[in-house]
Symmetry: C2
C-alpha cells in the first residue's frame, strides 16, 4: 500500500480524499492542516497540524500539497518537500519555472522527489500538448476551456450593485471547435473561441437592464465575448448551479504529408473540477512514490512520468490487456 498524506483540506484536498478511497493500492494516513486539527472532520483519516509534519516522515510515502497556487504553494511546496515526496497542482503558468527551481533545490537537499503542476491544466492538457506536437511536428495546437464555472468571472458579477448571487460559465464555441478539428482556416479570436453564460440572482427591485448592461460591457471580463445573462431565483441557483463542472479540449491539427491532415483531440468533461483534479493528483502520487522508491530526487513534471508508473497494474498485465 502507498501511504498518502493530504496537506490542506479544501475542495481539492477533499477531492483527493475521494480519489484515494477509489484506489485499491493507496491509503490515506493523515490530513495536515494549518487550522486547529480538532476543527476538521475527515472521512476517517487522522488530522495533524502542519507543524507536526516531521513526526510523520516515516509514516508517509507521498504528501499531496492541496493548497492554492496564488498564496499557499510557494511556501507549502518547499516546506513539505523537506519531509516527504510531494505532488501538487501548482497552476500559475508564468511562475512554473521559478517554482520548479525552488522545489528542485528543496527536494534534492532533503533527498526527496517533488512532482509539480499535476492536475488537468497544467497536467493532462500539458501532456497532450506535448504528445500532439511530437507526433504531428507541423501543425497547430489549440486549447478550448469549458463548459465550466469561472470563479473570477462569477465574483466580478457579484460585485455589481443589485446582484445577490451569480454563476458564470465559460463555454467553447462549438462551431469553432469543429472547424479547428476539421483543419478549416478559421480565425481564432477571444470572441470566436469562447462565449460566456451568466446566471444572476438580482435583489428585489434591482434594475435588471442596468445589471445586464454592466455585465456585457465589463472590460476584460465580458466585453470581448458574446455574453448571455439570465436572471434566475435564488432557489434555482441553489438547485441547478451548485456544482463546479469544467473541462475543455486540446486539439492538435497537422499534416502527415502535403495535403493529408490528421487531428488528435483530447477532451475532458468534468462534473467536478476539484474532484477530477484530485483524481489526477492521486494517480500522479502513485508515480511519484514509485520514482522516489527507485532513488530519484529533485523536482519533476508530468513530462517525466511514464504510464507504467501511473497505473496500479503490473507491466505484464498492461502489455497483455492494454496494448
Amino acid at each position: 500500500m502507498i501511504r498518502v498524506a493530504i496537506n490542506g483540506y479544501g475542495n481539492l484536498g477533499r477531492g483527493a480524499e475521494q480519489a484515494i478511497s477509489r484506489s485499491k493500492d493507496m491509503e490515506l494516513v493523515v490530513v495536515f492542516t494549518r487550522r486547529d486539527p480538532g476543527s476538521l472532520t475527515t472521512q476517517g483519516a487522522p488530522v495533524a497540524h502542519v507543524d507536526d509534519m516531521p513526526d510523520w516522515a516515516d509514516e508517509v510515502d507521498v504528501c499531496l500539497n492541496c493548497g492554492g497556487s496564488a498564496t499557499d504553494l510557494a511556501e507549502q511546496g518547499p516546506a513539505a518537500a523537506a519531509h516527504f515526496t510531494t505532488v501538487d497542482s501548482f497552476d500559475t503558468h508564468a511562475e512554473i519555472p521559478a517554482y520548479f527551481a525552488s522545489l528542485d533545490t528543496a527536494a534534492r537537499q532533503a533527498g526527496h522527489l517533488a512532482l509539480i503542476s499535476t492536475g488537468w491544466d497544467p497536467g493532462l492538457f500539458s501532456m497532450l500538448r506535448v504528445l500532439g506536437e511530437a507526433v504531428l511536428p507541423e501543425g497547430r495546437t489549440t486549447t478550448f476551456w469549458g463548459p465550466g464555472v469561472s470563479q473570477g468571472h462569477s465574483d466580478a458579477i457579484r460585485r455589481i450593485e443589485g446582484v445577490a448571487d451569480a454563476r458564470q460559465y465559460t463555454l467553447p464555441v462549438e462551431q469553432t471547435v469543429e472547424a479547428v478539428k476539421a483543419g478549416d482556416d478559421v480565425e481564432l479570436t477571444t470572441r470566436s473561441m469562447h462565449r460566456r453564460d451568466c446566471y444572476v440572482v438580482a435583489h428585489e427591485g434591482a434594475d435588471r437592464d442596468r445589471i445586464e448592461r454592466e455585465i456585457v460591457t465589463m472590460p476584460h471580463y465580458f466585453a470581448d465575448y458574446d455574453t448571455t445573462v439570465t436572471f434566475i431565483s435564488a432557489q434555482e441557483m441553489a438547485e441547478s448551479h451548485s456544482g463546479i463542472p469544467h473541462g475543455g479540449a486540446v486539439i492538435r491539427r497537422g499534416e502527415t504529408s502535403r495535403g493529408t491532415g490528421a487531428t488528435v483531440t483530447f477532451e475532458l468533461g468534468l462534473g467536478s473540477n476539484p474532484e477530477f483534479t484530485g483524481s489526477v493528483v492521486v494517480a500522479m502520487a502513485r508515480a511519484a512514490a514509485r520514482m522516489a522508491a527507485r532513488g530519484q530526487t529533485g523536482a519533476r513534471t508530468v513530462f517525466d512520468v511514464t504510464l507504467a508508473d501511473l497505473s496500479p497494474r503490473s507491466p505484464e498485465e498492461l502489455r497483455a490487456d492494454y496494448l
Copy 2:
C-alpha cells in the same frame, strides 16, 4: 541529429520517411529492403539490402521495423535488434506478450533497446486506455474505430462474384459515442457501436441485388452490423476512395464521487492511417534513441516512455511553454 534507418519500404515505411523529413532533429540515413536495392526509389536516402545491416551498425541510432505483424515482424524484430535500437508497430494484440519476450531476449543479448507496438492502436490508444483508468479507477473504457478503411472487409467484398472493386468503411455509430461520453446506460453491442459502408464497382451486367444481399448477410464480416451498399463507377472509386483514412476514439467514463461523473475522450481523425502510424513510430524512435543513449537495454512499450523523451524540445522549454 538522430540517425534513423527504415527497415521495409511499404506504406508504413514511406509514412515514416515523410515523418522523418518533418522532424528537424532526425535524419534518414538508410532504407533496408529484402528486395533488390536497385529496385527502390526513396526520397533521397540510400537503399541497402537487409543482409548488409551489420555494415550500418555504427551509422544508425535507431532502426524502424516497418514490416507487417502477421509475417514480417516475428523475424524482422529480433534480427534487427541484434544490430540496432529498434522501434516497431507490432499489432497482433494476442501475440504481444510472446513478441515482447522474444525482442527482450534479442535486445538484451545485443545490448540494445527495442520499443515495440507503437503506432496508434496499439500505441497512442493504449496509452490513453492506461491514463484514463489511472485517473478514473472506477469506470468503463470504450474504444470506437473509424471512420476508416478496413482492408479485410474490402477484400471480402471483392471476392463476391460480379464485383470488380470494393472499398469498405467502418464507422462508429455517433449516437452511441455520444451516449458513452454522457455516461448514459447504453447497451454496447457489435451493431450498436459500429456500422459499415460499402462502395462497390460491379462488373457490367452483374446482379446488383444479389451482390448487395451477399454482402449484408455475410457472416462475421457484415451480418451483425447495419451495412449500406452503394454502387459506384470505377472512375468514382479512383477519384473519391483512394485514400486510407482511419481513426477512432478511446473514451473513459467514470465517477469522481457518488453521482458525479467525468469523461476523458481521446479522438483521432486521420487522413492517412499509414502516414500517421509512421509519424508515431518516428516520435517513439526519438524516445528509444534517448533511452538507449542512457544505457537502457531490452524490450519496452509505450507505457515506459515519458513525454519528455518523445519531444524534441528541452525540459526547460517544455516547462516554460507547455505546462
